[in-house]
Amino acid sequence: MGIKFYKRLFLLPGLLLLIAIIIFPLLFSIRVSFSSWNVSRSGLDFVGGSNWARMWSDADFWGAMLRLLNFGVVTTSIQYILGFMLAHYVWQGIKSGRFFRLIWLVPLMTTPSIMAIVWRSIFREDIGAANGLLKSVGLSTIGWSTEIVPAMFTIYVAEIWQWTPFMFLFLLAGLLILPKEPFLAAEIDGSTPTRTFWRITLPLMAPISIGAILIRLIESSKIFDSIFVLTSAGPGNATETPTYFLWKRSLTEFQIAYGATLALTYLIVMIIVLTIVAKVLTYISRPRGW
């Protein structure tokens, strides 16, 4: 059996299973986006590109996309920095490292939708822990879900709490498999820890960092549970993201066809943005001379 057989043996089972599962949903969504399927008329007629034209001039949808840009960039960068710090500390060795490692992973284990309810009980204006603490130290309480900045704050905090452990574990995986030689060489050259970090650790971590950042951008863009439970996209639509917008159109108003159009648009925009982000990050972290 030639090398070709083994090549296929490794990749194809996974790839084909994946294609088998997703091909129908994808083709189906594309077909539906050219129909007029809605609450009063289900079925696959053909209305040309009218959904696509509506999407193009839907200011609410694009507003939600812009809001997502801010949310994705801010939370992902904070998670990356915090996650890297934690992973780097564990990698260097801290006292009771295994204990902290386990504790820091717990947020990842909580179910986001259930955790959102716990956050709700913390940020409830009347009986919540946050206002309770503020009151007990004599400060005035905050309208967590009625004012724009606090509402955004609650969602960002929940997101950072839940997903920084993901960055932490992903980056720790990268650190654990770094080769030893560059670090030995740096030690012999008398490099300071700071210099070693910027000149060796960070560049060596570039591929896995880019991987971690891209996957977090993908995941955080899908945020739904905490918005649904904490703010219901309010006040007004100040915390409405594309997923929430999509859910409203397709599963509460049953504009199935228009929902599919929005979903495909979202998919295309994400693929373009992620490709650009990957290219830019690869360029920034390209190997340079000393």
């Binding site: 043996l9 259930i114 498999i177 080769p179 991987g211």
Partner: protein
């Protein structure tokens, strides 16, 4: 100075992580009245703890019993993760060692294709997956949900493991093949033992993401197969029972905590320099 900062940061972060969890733990021992009176923090001093919230979810008070749901979740998560880690690991190894291609598309495009499966939110995929499983008569079955979850978990495994295998020197495979192994044996005998940290982390991610899926479970299963998150969300009513939900939040972490505690020991400092003779 940097030592002080380091431990200050570690303590700060640990407190931040524990704060909502301890609030949930405290809330789970409150009565409805204690919750609705306003925020209280210290049991016995500020309120009288009860086990009502916990009895409600463990079938003792006859309100709800989450244990069968937990078993469903375990079956589904186990098989979805097993398929994802096995097939995803193999695919990642192939993508790391061989060149695949079709016209202008190469390995990096195939890897991106995998991860692109995670872009669409479950909200979007719910309806087509519903129709798909309905036609295959897999609605409300373990197998149906396992297949759908696999499509979401395998991409994470591939994404992580390709980088991981890339770090393992090719000399190790070549050495094994010189000693008479075929490529698959080289993978199994020489690479797999070195890959424990990567497999451990992939498994942790797969299990956690599979365990916590809510949306697909809500749409694709109903009565025969109800997973833990779906059952917990169903407890929510017009008045949110924060005490029961807090108890179930803690309850649903416990199996994962046990799993991660066991698997986490494989995350030792590797470095493959010593592996090449």
């Amino acid at each position: 100075m940097s030592r002080i900062f380091k431990y200050a940061f570690i303590i700060f972060w640990t407190l931040f992580v524990l704060a909502p969890l301890s609030w949930a733990l405290v809330t789970s021992f409150k009565t409805p009245a204690a919750v609705n009176q306003g925020a209280t923090f210290i049991p016995w001093v500020q309120f009288d703890p009860t086990l009502d919230g916990w009895q409600d979810i463990l079938g003792i008070s006859g309100y709800a019993n989450l244990i069968p749901n937990m078993i469903n979740s375990m079956i589904i998560t186990f098989f979805a993760s097993l398929i994802s880690v096995t097939l995803g690991g193999l695919a990642a190894y192939g993508l790391s060692r061989f060149r695949y291609g079709w016209k202008y598309y190469g390995n990096s495009d195939i890897i991106f294709f995998f991860i692109a499966q995670r872009i669409l939110p479950p909200v979007v995929l719910a309806i087509p997956f519903f129709l798909l499983l309905k036609n295959l008569q897999l609605l409300d079955t373990h197998l149906g949900l396992i297949l759908v979850l696999t499509s979401g978990l395998m991409p994470i495994v591939v994404w992580l493991m390709v980088d991981f295998f890339n770090q393992i020197p090719r000399e190790i495979d070549e050495m094994a093949m010189l000693e008479g192994c075929n490529p698959f044996q080289a993978f199994r005998k020489a690479i797999l033992p070195l890959s424990k940290p990567g497999i451990a982390i992939s498994a942790i991610f797969a299990v956690i993401f599979g365990w916590n899926d809510l949306f697909f479970a809500l749409v694709l299963t109903f009565t025969k197969v109800k997973t833990l998150p779906a059952a917990v969300v169903a407890l929510n009513g017009t008045v949110t029972p924060f005490w029961t939900l807090a108890a179930s939040a803690i309850f649903s972490i416990l199996p994962l905590l046990g799993f991660v505690f066991v698997v986490e020991r494989y995350l030792a400092k590797g470095g493959f320099s010593g592996a090449v003779r």
